[in-house]
Subunit: 384 residues, 2 copies
């Protein structure tokens, strides 16, 4: 449902024919003429993880003539975050430093509540703050990075009300796939989501880009239509591919074995990686003789996305695998070592950022909420 | 549409068979056993202007055993207020002092905007503050009277979101008479209205009563159902009759000749009253011989509601009319003199209250908005 972040249960998850998707959705491929403007590229762009766009050419043109630009990238806080969720924020962070852009990160507690993903709105508040720390642990620019919990941010409702007159129930119903027995909150959330995306333009005259998963494009189109009717710059979007889950299925927070949560302890990480789907041969003998099949291997995909930071290193590793010089256990150890180290770093950063959380939030955070999250982090630390 | 205040265009306006309405809607008449608890009564109760209720017996019972009580009475700010709008607030004021109750007055800018009654949300903000001054000019208790502009009050959206899960689009559609081409703001407004009414109970554990016009009962029932599902005390309602407009039609802000706006200058007041529908005879001779027909006379109805404060005075005046001792011109002069004096008093009070408006609002009011309203009051003053 969320326009932001990694899709949890998309019908597109298994369709990796991205060229066809580009055609079907009427997107533009992220081709060389655009990428050359962003040199030196982030390795996730080089990997082709970000592969298509809508209006990003216009966005960069406006940036070049000196218009203020920002990036909006939200998170629906109904659970702990997994590493797949964080990939898109790596891209956001890089783009922020590349363009000196403002970054807005709405945490849509309202969305998760009205769609029944949390029992009480307060549960979403806990995850909102915990998730915020995960995101901020990547290292965003202080004073240019603005987080807020949707229902706690006074401007959100006012802007949503203003935008509501540019939408109809019929359109929202079709786009979000609702039926008439749905609650009014889900219907209104279409306006709230548009408000999240258009707020930087409406309040600060900034042009916006939203990095999203490809299946969220219908909501993006809806918001671009609203912007056009309101008479402001349409938000751009850049689209990311899916990362396979450890089991070979799509990553999903509701299937813990497919993903690594930032809250996982080292033993859990090693166990999950050990069970991962690989491109290894049935026997060691065959592996030595025929070499591995990295194109089938989730561990290799994860090494590419989460561990290697340079295309060159990826190529060398792939060759070694194909040559039979590597056995799967080695790759798994390499991946789990790197992930455990990464999670330790995230946890350390979260603690530090929690002490200065007001530097990043656009509204005050209640002391009680901070204490709840701090307590939970201490428990995680003692398990590590 | 609004649950609050005087109905503008109700299908019930011409149906004054209030006994039938009580039956049809399943209300309870405001009978002696209840009224005796409120002695000494406000003359609007004695007049029978407030004639029915839902749950007001339970409300008074809770009050008697020491529970905190409050009154919620909103206003949809899309125009200047007329004197008909203020009648309900007279009742609120009296009930406040009688029960030492908190009074909450939501000004629903969002409602007026999503239903297209104002062009821009900001237009509703102007009327919200101007209307607030009209209401406060009646003299509410400082520290127990809380006004807010709906979209400016942070708690409103959060509570509306929480309540949204207790409603469905189907129910809202049926109750509000919406169709699928409506905007999502109108649908969500059902939750917002429920939030206005239930906020004192949810946030402060106060039992609520809402004084409303009879045709707004379906929205009240909706909100009582929500309260029951949430598991809090159901809000009570007391129902008022309609006051005829000067022309004999229902009062309506969109037909200025039917009502007296608080912004009308003395000449306009006198002109409107002069054109009013009376119970007078065709000729002076007949009037002297047959006497007037006060039961048909709008001027008499207005004298009852707006001028006389005691049932006894009304009786004496009625007798005089029937006896032929009064001519319509005298009553019209009496009414317009009283109204002009009343409007002067309201204007004077508005100026004074504007300087201390923060004493009554639950959120800050922008200086620019205060200045706009002040400017407009000065213009009115110079016309007076």
């Amino acid at each position: 449902m969320s326009i932001f972040g990694v899709s949890e249960s998309s019908s597109l998850e298994k369709r990796t024919d991205y060229e066809r998707l580009i055609k079907e959705f009427g997107l533009k491929p992220l081709d060389k003429s655009l990428l050359v403007k962003l040199q030196p590229l982030h390795y996730l762009f080089e990997l082709g993880m970000i592969f298509a766009h809508r209006g990003f050419d216009d966005y960069l043109r406006r940036y070049e003539i000196g218009q203020k630009v920002s990036i909006v990238s939200g998170r629906g806080p109904s659970n702990f975050m997994h590493l797949g969720h964080l990939v898109v924020f790596e891209v956001v962070k890089w783009l922020q430093s590349r363009l000196n852009a403002s970054v807005y990160i709405p945490l849509s507690d309202d969305e998760k509540y009205v769609f029944g993903k949390v029992k009480r709105l307060e549960d979403a508040h806990f995850f909102a703050l915990d998730n915020a720390l995960d995101i901020l642990s990547l290292g965003f620019i202080k004073g240019k990075t603005f987080l807020y919990i949707s229902s706690k941010m006074p401007e959100v409702y006012e802007i949503s009300v203003k935008l509501s007159r540019y939408l109809t129930y019929n359109t929202v119903k079709a786009t979000f796939g609702l039926d008439d027995s749905t609650n009014p909150g889900t219907i209104f959330y279409a306006c709230v989501q548009a408000a999240h995306i258009l707020m930087p333009t409406l309040l600060h005259g900034e042009v916006v880009v939203v990095p999203i998963a490809i299946d969220q494009d219908p909501y993006m189109r809806l918001t671009r239509d609203v912007a056009e009717r309101v008479g402001i710059a349409k938000p751009a979007a850049i689209y990311s591919k899916y990362i396979k889950g450890l089991t070979g299925e799509p990553m999903s927070a509701s299937k813990p074995e497919t993903c690594i949560f930032t809250s996982d302890d080292p033993e859990t990480v090693r166990k999950k990686v050990w069970m991962a789907f690989t491109g290894g041969r049935p026997t060691l003998k065959e592996q030595k003789e025929l070499g591995g099949e990295p194109e089938k291997c989730v561990v290799f995909e994860w090494l590419k996305v989460f561990v290697f930071k340079h295309i060159k290193d990826i190529g060398l590793h792939e060759e070694k695998c194909r040559s039979g010089a590597l056995v799967c256990g080695e790759c798994k150890k390499m991946l789990s070592d790197a992930l455990v180290k990464r999670l330790e770093e995230i946890k350390r950063n979260k603690m530090r950022i929690l002490d200065n959380i007001d530097d990043y939030f656009l509204h005050p955070i209640e002391e009680e909420l901070i204490e709840n999250v701090r307590r939970r982090l201490h428990i995680q630390e003692s398990q590590a």
